[in-house]
Each structure stands twice: as C-alpha cells, then as structure tokens.
C-alpha cells in the first residue's frame, strides 16, 4: 500500500522546463556529468597503478600477497548488498512506501558502516606490521619485503586508492544522514524521488570503484 502523504502532492516542474520528462532527463545528464569527473579522478589513480604495475610486476605480486583477500572479498559482498538495498530504497520512494524506504536507507547506511569497520581492521593490521608508507614503514618486520623501496610504492598506491574510496564512502554517509532525516519527514515520494535516485547513483558509483580495486589490489598472482 503506497503512502500518499510522502513528498509533494503534485510533481514540481521548474519554469524553464517544458514538462517533467524533460526536467528528469536534464537532471540525469547533470548527474552523469558529475559522475564523469569522479570517474576521471579515479581513472588518474588507476593510470598510476597500471604504469607501475607494468614496470614492477614482481613488486606488485609481493605487495598484494600482504593484503587480506578475505577482508577484501567480504567488503565486496557488503558493498554489493548495500547497492541492492540502495536500489530498493529508490524503488520504495518511487512507489510511495515510506516504511520500506526507511528500512532500506537505514540498511544501506549500516552496510556502509560495516564496510568501513572492516577497512579499519585491515588498515590496523597494516599498521601493526609496519606497512604504512611514511608513517609506519618497517618492511623488515613480520612481513619482510624483497625490495622495501619499491614495496613502499605499492603500499602508497594501495592506501591512496583504497583511502580515497573510503573517503567517498564517508562523504556518502554525510549525504545519507541528511537524506535519512528528510525521508523520516516524508519529504520524498512518488512526486519527488530524483534526489534519492541520484544519491543512489553516487552510492553505486562508489561500488563500481571497489569492483575494480578488489581484483587489481588483492588478487595479483
């Protein structure tokens, strides 16, 4: 049963658009342009990764072997499930089901927190073994590396790439918190669902970035 009190009673169309369809298309294009610059940002990091991986393949194999594949795989599943709950949140908003909307948005936030908690333990493990470049670098510790200098290069890339990904997730939490309050107040509904859909786009994009980071960082053999 849809909740007719969710969001505005009538669709809001700005003066400079002919109709709602044109407004939706224009805002979709705007969102994709935003995602394009985000993709270029991570693309630059991937370029650096590809360059050094081709240059020092043996270093990347050795560095990757120090990463915890189980934690990486668990995080992949966590992000995948959070993508499903986010998509379901958008669907619930579109069809006007407030209770489901709140449950799915809360689940998405909870799964995002779980991802970062796992990441925290992973980073703590690297710190413990002295594998954090510049801050705590001890390649001759428990996990000794063949070539410490080039090994530092791999871990620099690992922390920059996974760190920027985690930073994007933290930004996502900020947005999600605002959306949670707005959803609680029933500001979004069948006549106003695009903001929720675009937050979903952002969340899915963060998932896509991890889809590439997982095999490229954790599964080099």
């Amino acid at each position: 049963m849809s909740d007719v009190t969710m969001g505005p009673k009538e669709p809001i169309v700005s003066d400079h658009f002919i109709d709602r369809e044109q407004q939706n298309e224009a805002s979709h294009i705007g969102m994709w342009l935003f995602l394009a610059q985000e993709a270029m940002f991570f693309g630059g990091l991937l370029c650096a990764y590809f360059y050094y991986r081709f240059k020092y393949p043996e270093v990347f194999v050795e560095g990757s072997a120090q990463l915890n594949v189980y934690m990486g795989a668990t995080n992949t599943i966590v992000l995948l499930v959070s993508s499903v709950t986010m998509a379901m949140c958008v669907y619930s908003t579109q069809v006007g089901k407030w209770k489901q909307q709140m449950i799915y948005l809360s689940s998405t936030i909870a799964l995002g927190v779980l991802f970062l908690v796992i990441k925290w333990f992973e980073y703590a493990e690297k710190w413990h073994y002295g594998l954090v470049p510049h801050l705590n670098w001890n390649p001759h510790g428990a996990h000794s590396l063949e070539d410490p200098v080039k090994g530092e290069l791999f871990f620099s890339l690992y922390f920059i790439m996974s760190g920027m990904h985690a930073f994007h997730m933290i930004i996502g939490f900020g947005i999600a918190a605002v959306f949670w309050v707005l959803c609680w107040k029933k500001k979004f509904g069948p006549n106003m669902y695009l903001p929720v859909e675009y937050f979903g786009f952002y969340w899915h994009f963060v998932d896509i970035v991890w889809v590439f980071l997982f095999p490229l960082l954790y599964l080099i053999k």
């Binding site: 298309e25 294009i29 342009l33 394009a36 993709a39 693309g43 393949p57 995948l80 993508s83 069948p190």
Partner: protein, 141 residues
C-alpha cells in the same frame, strides 16, 4: 511479456521492478566468485598476462551490470545513454595515452625509483653525449 508490462511509469521514467535488482545482484555475486577463482588459475603471460586481462574483463562486466540495472541506464532515454557511455569514452582516452607510453617508452632510468643501484646514471641529468651534467644534480642541503 514485454518489459513495460512489469512496471509502473512515472512521467516517462521507468520504475525498475525489484526482481531485476535481485537477479542482477546474483549475477554480480557469481562474477565476483569467478574473479577469485580466476585469480587461482595460472594463466600464460605471468602477472600482466592473460590473468590480468581476465580480471579486468570480469570487473568491466560487473560495472556494466551495476550501471545498466542498478543505475537504470538500460531504461533511460537515448540522450542519457550517450552521456553515460561518454564516461567510458573519456576513460578510454585517459587510459590510452599512458598505455601507449608504457608500451613505447624505454624508461629504465629517469623515472621515480628507477635509479636505485644506478646512481649517477640518471638520463635526466645527462646531455646528448651521455655526459653527466654535474650542475643539474640536486644539491644535498
């Protein structure tokens, strides 16, 4: 049964039925396990050989599933599809030039970390006759 019979339509905006999300998630999960399984297989070509390209191909397939179903591009207007595909186009340009560079340049020396064990041989500090330009050496303060 056509796709449009499955769903409601809001001002020309297709509302994706939840079963599509579930099926898509299962497909992505299968691809994830395939990625892990493929990493255990010894492919020809070493680290950057066939195995590397297999991992990248699976990642691209997973990304395509997320973009087309979760982000709903499959049901968007042709213009939005052009912009979504435009992202891929920009990334291809971004990756192509460094890849050409990697494939063509012989930068054994002159790049970061590359002169370890070859101090004084860095080609960045040499003239055309491979003579070391002393003045160009960074000063140690």
């Amino acid at each position: 049964m056509s796709e449009n019979e499955h769903a409601d339509d809001h001002a020309g905006h297709f509302i994706v039925p939840p079963k599509y999300y579930i099926i898509n998630a299962v497909v992505i999960a299968i691809l994830m396990f395939l990625t892990i399984a493929a990493s255990e297989v010894t492919f020809p070509g070493g680290v950057n050989g066939v195995g590397y390209w297999v991992a990248l191909l699976i990642a691209i397939l997973k990304a395509a599933c997320i973009v087309s179903i979760f982000m709903g591009v499959k049901w968007n207007t042709p213009l939005v599809k052009v912009f979504a595909l435009g992202v891929v186009g920009w990334l291809i340009i971004l990756f192509t030039f460094p890849m050409i560079d990697i494939a063509s340049a012989k930068w054994e020396l002159g790049t970061p970390y590359s002169d370890i064990g070859h101090e004084g041989e860095n080609t960045l500090f040499m003239d055309d006759d491979a003579e070391l330009l002393v003045d160009a050496e960074p000063k140690a303060d």
